[in-house]
């Protein structure tokens, strides 16, 4: 009697009971079920939702590992600025890793435990299988929050995000807003002091504020919004040796993740490409405005407006948002044409919010949530085009 037979017996035992979904969730994690086709196509392709979601998680793992090192690095570099002279040499160290793991892993664990806990409860109450959507959401959440966010806040936010953002609509596949961003938006508006400013992005900055050895961790966007010259070079931000949300700093690794998602056909290249185009277009418009001299150096928008257009893609969370959040198939436009429009406006509006709302210098979260809401409308008009073609054909016939 192997494990397989034992589990099969347990499955039969739990069949039809309230606990069946919970058991099945664990069982199917080990074994793909013995389910066979009943109607329609007798054979099926290899992909299932678990595999799809797992692919996204794999694409996120480099960002997580980098985020762990970066958490430690930013902390020590804020205390001893000389570390920044040789970022690469001082980055992948045990000290950084241990401190990073100590701060980042609790976020990951809380995110998964709380989120999956809610999913299990809903699955048992509603009698459906536990859906895989949260596997990705649970990984995204720790990567898009500031490092020192208190765990109880994260807990509250995750419960809110999963219940209000997803379960009330009927679970994975039915939600309107991206659950991970719903969680982040909740944190953002409920606990703004923990989500923005110059004291949240580096571990320990908040606790040491006001003390003689206080450390600051202003992000590039934060500096630009206040018309300060950022202390980091564009290469620093490309490689990711900068403060920011846990996993979104390294544009380089995000690009690798994007390449992986596009290659595996799990992420939509249409959305990614059009979002990049949208951001560049908006960036160019602002650069043009500055070149025309319509905005003076003293203006509060000057810092971000005059930033070279393509820098917008490298700084802040825009790249992360475009690659991992905008491409969520459930909340994005579902037609291929619609994806171009949807993506374009995400890039476009992200940069717009960045510039005109210095209080919330990161616009990508709000841009994606806004476009999530508009995605069905975009699809509606794309479908209208197809429907019109059909009506035209009919008219030509009957005329």
């Amino acid at each position: 009697m192997g494990l397989k037979q034992n589990l099969h017996k347990l499955k039969e035992k739990y069949k039809g009971t309230k606990m069946a979904p919970a058991f099945n969730a664990l069982h199917t994690f080990l074994y793909t079920p013995n389910e066979t086709t009943h109607s329609g196509s007798h054979v099926r392709a290899a992909d299932d939702l678990k595999r799809t979601m797992n692919t996204v998680i794999m694409a996120l793992v480099p960002c997580l590992i980098f985020g762990i090192f970066n958490a430690g690095y930013q902390h020590y570099a804020a205390i001893d600025a000389t570390l920044r002279l040789d970022p690469l040499g001082n980055f992948f160290t045990w000290d950084n890793f241990i401190l990073g793991a100590w701060t980042v892993l609790p976020l990951v664990i809380v995110s998964y435990l709380v989120g999956l806990g809610v999913e299990f409860i809903f699955a048992v109450i509603k009698g459906h299988e536990v859906e895989e959507g949260y596997l990705v959401t649970g990984m995204l959440v720790p990567l898009i929050v500031p490092i020192d966010i208190p765990l109880w806040m994260l807990t509250v936010a995750v419960i809110f995000g999963v219940v209000i953002g997803k379960e009330v609509f009927g679970g994975t596949g039915m939600n309107i807003l991206n659950p991970a961003l719903t969680i982040r938006a909740f944190l953002f508006f409920a606990y703004p002091t923990w989500m923005s400013g110059d004291k949240v992005w580096v571990h320990g900055a908040k606790e040491m504020a006001g003390q003689p050895d206080a450390i600051s961790g202003e992000t590039i966007l934060g500096s630009l919004a206040q018309n300060h010259e950022p202390i980091y070079s564009i290469w620093d931000s490309f490689w990711g040796f900068i403060p920011g949300s846990v996993g979104e700093t390294s544009t380089f690794l995000i690009l690798i993740g994007a390449a992986f998602l596009i290659f595996t056909k799990v992420g939509s290249w249409r959305i990614m490409l059009s979002a990049v185009i949208g951001a560049i277009v908006m960036g160019l418009i602002f650069n043009g405005v500055v070149d025309q001299g319509w905005i003076q150096q003293g203006s509060s928008f000057y810092g971000l407006m005059s930033e070279t257009f393509w820098h917008h893609l490298v700084i802040g969370g825009l790249a992360f948002g475009i690659v991992y959040m905008a491409t969520d198939p459930v909340t994005a436009s579902q037609t291929n044409k619609g994806k171009w429009i949807y993506g374009f406006f995400i890039g476009f509006i992200s940069v717009l919010i960045r510039v005109f709302n210095p209080a919330y210098p990161e616009g990508v979260m709000l841009a994606i949530l806004l476009m999530n809401v508009f995605a069905p409308t975009i699809d509606h008009y794309v479908l209208k085009g197809n429907i019109k073609k059909r009506l035209k054909r009919l008219k030509a016939k009957t005329a």
Binding site: T32, K50, T52, R270, P329
Partner: protein, 449 residues
């Protein structure tokens, strides 16, 4: 008139056990069965009672809603049993065959006779059920004249019957049937054949010939309709399968309803996959055990693996089937099947699935769903294998929420469940696409049709 059509989107599924191009006579089946469920939305009204004698071609039941649509016996013998299921619905009509066939004589009819004569003969001799209509993918309405008639002269489905082989030598029957059908429409009889190959339709008259190339579903008549002349609201088109044309042609030329079928027995579980000459409604075991099976735990399918019906190994050949596929059952667990690299299954993604590396590999797929049923999540993948100018995901959703206006607007009149077999095959959420479309069509038929 000849036009070239190139299908770009799609997916050809290559499976092990393609039927070898040799033809054997299957041993004569002792019992035959007709399953009314093969005739969608038809409620049978029995003519022959249990114990009654029938000749081949004699009516055994007709449609309760339209008495002139008759269904005839494929064989001469004694009707032994009418099996009923829930609500006394007839599930199967069994006939014990005579040792020798005696045919009911309908008399020879020149294929160039008038449309009305041909129609009357097809109805009388039980050949009407071979004519399917769209919209709704049901047996053609006898009242409506079709705009056009479409025939796909080839199949691109996995392990499908190679019609170039199985129709060989039937040119006279085919021509007779095509000429006769051309009298039933003011439009044309469109026949599609592959770009290469020796199709018996190549030199036929009274048709518009189209050459089609590309991956599956290029051979599906639905794909061809969409490219040649899509169905508009208010229009009706007919489709007939080539193997049924042979029966229609023979009826006209000889006056007999000869239910002979050349069936491809295929699939990885068959020892010697090849072609058998048998009859509609015959026991499949007569030829399956002639070829031999490799394993006990198999799925026997009357039809191809994408659209066929599951039958028991002791079951009967379906009314419209010209293929019997036997593949392994997949009722087993697979350790970490959801995340380990996959080399032996087909996938359109590259999520640690490697079928993209081996485009010519021939697979041995089983009936496992490879995952659990979920809500629709992934978008954009159906479009890659769906050549019709429509939005498959949105159409499925409109069927699920029973939004008749939306279904109609998105092109529901043009489709049949089989058009969604490939999207069902690749569906990450393992949704039953063909069933959803079938239910949608039925709802439309009930409310609008």
């Amino acid at each position: 008139m000849s036009k070239d059509i190139k299908i770009k989107k799609g997916l050809t599924i290559k499976l092990q056990g393609d039927a070898d191009k040799t033809l054997s006579n299957a041993p004569r089946s002792r019992t035959f069965a007709i399953r009314p469920s093969d005739f969608h939305l038809i409620t049978p009204k029995m003519v022959v009672k249990e114990g009654g004698k029938v000749q081949a071609g004699e009516t055994i039941f007709y449609s309760k809603n339209n008495e002139i649509v008759k269904f005839v016996s494929p064989v001469s013998g004694t009707l032994t049993k009418i099996s009923r299921g829930a609500k006394r619905v007839i599930t199967e009509i069994s006939i014990e065959a005579d040792a020798q066939d005696s045919f009911k004589e309908f008399g020879v009819l020149n294929p160039t006779a008038s449309g009305a004569e041909i129609k009357a003969r097809l109805l009388e001799a039980g050949c009407w059920p071979f004519i399917m209509q769209r919209p709704y993918a049901i047996i053609a309405d006898t009242e409506q004249e079709p705009r056009d008639i479409f025939i796909s002269g080839f199949s691109t489905a996995p392990l499908a019957n190679d019609l170039d082989f199985s129709l060989h030598g039937k040119e006279n029957e085919l021509q007779a049937a095509l000429t006769a059908l051309s009298k039933l429409t003011k439009g044309q009889v469109h026949v599609s054949i592959p770009k290469s190959g020796d199709s018996p339709f190549k030199a036929m008259k009274d048709i518009a010939l189209h050459r089609v190339s590309g991956p599956h579903p290029a051979g599906n008549v639905g794909t061809q309709i969409n490219k040649i002349g899509p169905v508009n609201k208010g229009e009706v088109i007919w489709t007939v399968a080539p193997q049924d044309l042979v029966i229609i042609g023979e009826l006209l030329l000889t006056g007999k309803f000869n239910a002979e079928r050349i069936v491809a027995l295929a699939g990885s579980e068959v020892n010697t996959p090849k072609y058998y000459r048998t009859r509609i409604g015959a026991e499949v075991s007569t030829f399956i055990y002639d070829s031999g099976l490799k394993d006990e735990n198999v799925r026997v399918i009357s039809g191809d693996v994408l659209t066929g019906q599951k039958i028991s190994p002791k079951g009967y050949l379906g009314y419209y089937s010209n293929t019997v596929s036997v593949i392994p059952e997949g009722d087993d667990y697979e350790l970490f099947g959801w995340n380990k690299p996959v080399f032996d299954k087909i996938s359109t993604s590259r999520a640690l699935t490697f079928s993209w590396l081996m485009p010519n590999k021939v697979y041995d797929l089983d009936t496992n769903t490879n995952g659990e049923h979920r809500n629709f999540v992934v978008t954009g993948n159906y479009e890659e294998v769906f050549p019709l100018d429509m939005y498959p995901l949105q159409m499925l959703k409109s069927c699920m929420i029973q939004d008749l206006d939306e279904m109609e607007a998105l092109g529901m009149y043009e489709v049949a469940p089989e058009d969604f077999a490939l999207t069902e095959f690749i569906c990450v959420s393992k949704q039953p696409h063909q069933q959803i479309i079938r239910n949608g069509l039925d709802l439309m038929y009930k409310e609008i049709g």
